[in-house]
Amino acid sequence: MTLLERLNLENQILNRDGMSQFLVRYYQPGNFYYICGDYNSSGGRSYTIWCRIPDYYPTACPKVYVHKPNPLIGYGGVSINSYKVSHSMHTLENDSTGEVQICHWRQSRWDSSITLNKVMLKAMLWFEAFEQHLATGQPIDNFVSTMKEA
């Protein structure tokens, strides 16, 4: 299966699951595929998720970023960006513009059968947990479980 065939299939799944806001698109000037869509949380806040599809997808795990808001302000006015790689906040290294990277899948458990609808679900859950963090001050891992090692 070629990358294009795979991404066509991914879009069918995303459409089927009511996630048309996260359809994969092609950026011609940069010659890459990406997802850039909004998530409106149950709490009424809006976030923009950005994900560049890696060249070696689905072998490679896609990186998911919080495009907006940036910075992402957490409890007590502390930016989530400042945590960078944080187990307790389920974040990885920020991108070059400082956007927060969501840790959505343990690398050792990633495989090519995992589809983007599941990745987006994980990202949406992270935002729900983030809002629980905002309300309580507790770290995000108090609200989402950590994926076990393979």
């Binding site: 409106n40 149950s42 679900l121 729900e128 609200f143 989402v144």
Partner: protein
């Protein structure tokens, strides 16, 4: 007899309360957001994310 009935009624209420408190997180395709639903009656309730429930996703 009345005492027994009262005990049974309290036990039933306790079970019902426990069930109501058991939520699953679902992605609502219409609302395009994650909501928590009771596993017993699927009535949308407030979010109640816990570590145990974090991976209990399914699509609604």
């Amino acid at each position: 007899m009345d005492s027994q009935k009262e005990q049974i009624r309290e036990a039933m209420q306790s079970i019902a309360a426990r069930r109501q408190g058991h939520n699953k997180l679902v992605y609502d395709r219409t609302k395009k957001t994650i909501v928590a639903v009771s596993t017993t009656d699927y009535t949308t309730t407030g979010l109640n994310i816990s570590a145990e429930e974090a991976d209990m996703f399914y699509l609604r």
